[in-house]
């Protein structure tokens, strides 16, 4: 009670403190006000779930790479969050959601209350949710470029991606930019294209400029399997991502209403269908029910439904999910064997291939406007425009950034560092130290 009073004093809280226990006022508060508070609380909870997804990405990326780089990869994920929130806070949010042109926002800096209006949502609520999204785009890149990227170079890239490139894409679709103003507006409800494809195309360029890990391709050019050091980490990461996705998609409703449950359900159906699809395909193709690929399938299904989670029905969700899961398997094989792009965690396949696929499928499966529901091809065309525009923009801009980084400070660690592992040489200590051998080695040299 007293604490509450102190608090109310400090904060000028909107809610008056009231009667008996459990107590509530006999009047004064309007239902609309409660609804607005509920909207904010739900979006905050959803934002926490999206933040939580960074644990999932960290686990997946760590699990599917080698032990000698474990500290380096968790560090990159940690920095993604740090840089993402800071860069998106200082520049990105305005570019994305500030007033401006069809191409980018430039009014209202530093969350200036005079410039933003998000309906029931307060600026902080809205910002936290969006910042968590921005960081997600960047973290996709850290997975694909794992085990060979210089720490400082990744940091710079992550700052540019979350501060400039991603926000511009977000502006086009969600900030009132040109893609939202097409005659039939481009639909990307929660970001199959805006978040996932953006991250994936950046990852594609990164992998292209980096080249494969030493030893990934034999002298004959054949791909070799470089096994991840902890499948439990990877799969627990997939589960964490799954559950975080309820916030990612469900929160993208940007309100607490009866739709949220429906969105959560299409999300769940697509995720499990994606896992089942990938399992069956990989089992039939390779003869074994591959664990990591099934995990990728779930993620592919989730990425696939992200664009249309609110526009499609349950059947649509199951079909989109299952096809996305199938697609992931072939995409991973394609990038590994044909394109020879070394993506240790399958990020380009999961977020790029399935992001495009899911965005496209909205044109077919949207119950209002989709081709399969008599809506003609208008939506489909808009979806294609959006996909291609984002692809082109991200590929070009990230290529420039990677080119400049490579030409100046360099993008890749030296071969010795790569072979011995990034942990000790880049960060000063192994991800997994032995109990005594290391103690034995640990005279302070000062």
């Amino acid at each position: 009670m007293r604490r509450k009073l102190l608090v109310a004093l400090l904060a000028g809280g909107a809610v008056t403190v009231l009667g008996a226990s459990p107590a509530f006022a006999q009047g004064g508060i309007k239902a609309a006000e409660v609804q607005a508070v509920l909207d904010n609380i739900w979006i905050l909870v959803a934002a926490v779930l999206v933040f939580f997804m960074h644990i999932g990405f960290t686990l997946v990326e760590t699990g599917l790479t080698r032990a000698k780089n474990a500290a380096a990869i968790v560090m990159k994920n940690l920095m993604t969050l740090i840089i993402g929130v800071l860069a998106f806070g200082v520049i990105g949010f305005t570019l994305a959601f500030g007033g401006g042109s069809d191409w980018l926002g430039y009014q209202g800096w530093f969350l200036d209350p005079g410039y933003f209006d998000f309906g029931n949502l307060t600026i902080p609520t809205y910002f936290i949710f969006q910042a968590a999204f921005a960081a997600t785009a960047a973290t996709i890149v850290s997975g694909a470029m794992a085990e060979r990227t210089k720490f400082i170079s990744y940091m710079i890239f992550a700052a540019i991606l979350t501060g400039i490139i991603y926000p511009i894409v977000a502006h086009w679709v969600w900030g009132g930019g040109w893609l939202s103003k097409l005659d039939t507006p481009f639909i990307d409800f929660a970001g199959s294209t805006v978040v996932h494809s953006t991250g994936a195309w950046a990852a594609l360029m990164g992998v292209w400029f980096l080249g494969p890990r030493i030893g990934k391709y034999g002298p004959d050019g054949k791909p070799r399997a470089i096994l991840g050091h902890s499948i439990p980490f990877a799969i627990i990461g997939v589960l964490v991502l799954f559950f975080g996705w309820f916030g990612f998609n469900g929160g993208s409703q940007l309100a607490a209403d009866f739709e949220v449950g429906r969105i959560a359900l299409t999300t769940a159906f697509a995720g499990v269908a994606g896992g089942m699809g990938a399992l069956i395909v990989v089992w039939l193709t390779t003869g074994k029910p591959d664990v990591g690929m099934t995990g990728n399938g779930i993620l592919g299904g989730l990425v696939g439904i992200t664009a249309g989670c609110s526009a499609v029905n349950n059947w649509g969700a199951v079909i989109i999910g299952a096809l996305a899961g199938t697609l992931v398997v072939f995409a991973v094989l394609y990038f590994d064997r044909v394109a020879k792009l070394d993506d240790p965690v399958g990020a380009i396949s999961v977020h790029g291939a399935c992001g495009v696929f899911g965005t496209l499928m909205v044109g077919f499966f949207a119950t209002e406007g989709g081709l399969f529901y008599g809506g003609g091809v208008d939506q489909l065309v808009s979806q294609l425009i959006g996909i291609v525009a984002v692809l082109a923009f991200v590929v070009v801009t990230t290529a420039i950034v990677f080119f400049v980084i490579k030409a100046t400070i360099g993008l890749r660690v030296g071969p010795e560092e790569e072979m011995e592992g990034l942990d000790v040489l880049e960060h000063g200590a192994p991800g997994y130290a032995g109990d005594t051998v290391t103690v034995g080695a640990s005279f302070a040299a000062e």
Partner: protein, 112 residues
């Protein structure tokens, strides 16, 4: 003094250890290794990429014994580690010079 080294299947450790105790060979050092012999590894897939599992987990036992019982120790291990399937492992014996028990400084047979 002889050092008997044996590479065995991990699951056979239990049987070998009991049998060694019975013949009075108590001391033993075990390490986890990976190995392969004549047979080529089987092909598996990881995330859709094929690879050959050429190394299989094994245990390496090192047992320091008096010359007199070296052969008995080898035979005991051989009998108890055998499953009859490929990959059962090898045993080899090599002579050892000075032997010391760290705790007491005793040497030779007393050190065992």
């Amino acid at each position: 003094m002889q050092l008997v080294t044996a590479i065995i299947k991990p699951f056979q450790l239990d049987a070998v250890k009991v049998a060694l105790h019975e013949i009075g060979a108590n001391g033993i050092s075990v390490s986890e290794i990976q190995g392969h012999g004549r047979q080529r590894g089987h092909t598996e897939t990881y995330r859709g990429a094929e690879y050959t599992v050429e190394f299989v987990p094994k245990l390496k036992l090192e047992i320091l014994v008096d010359d007199a019982i070296a052969d008995q120790v080898v035979d005991t291990i051989a009998t108890n580690a055998r499953t009859g399937k490929i990959g059962d492992g090898k045993i080899w014996v090599a002579p050892v010079g000075r032997v010391v028990r760290i705790r007491t400084g005793e040497e030779g047979s007393d050190a065992l």
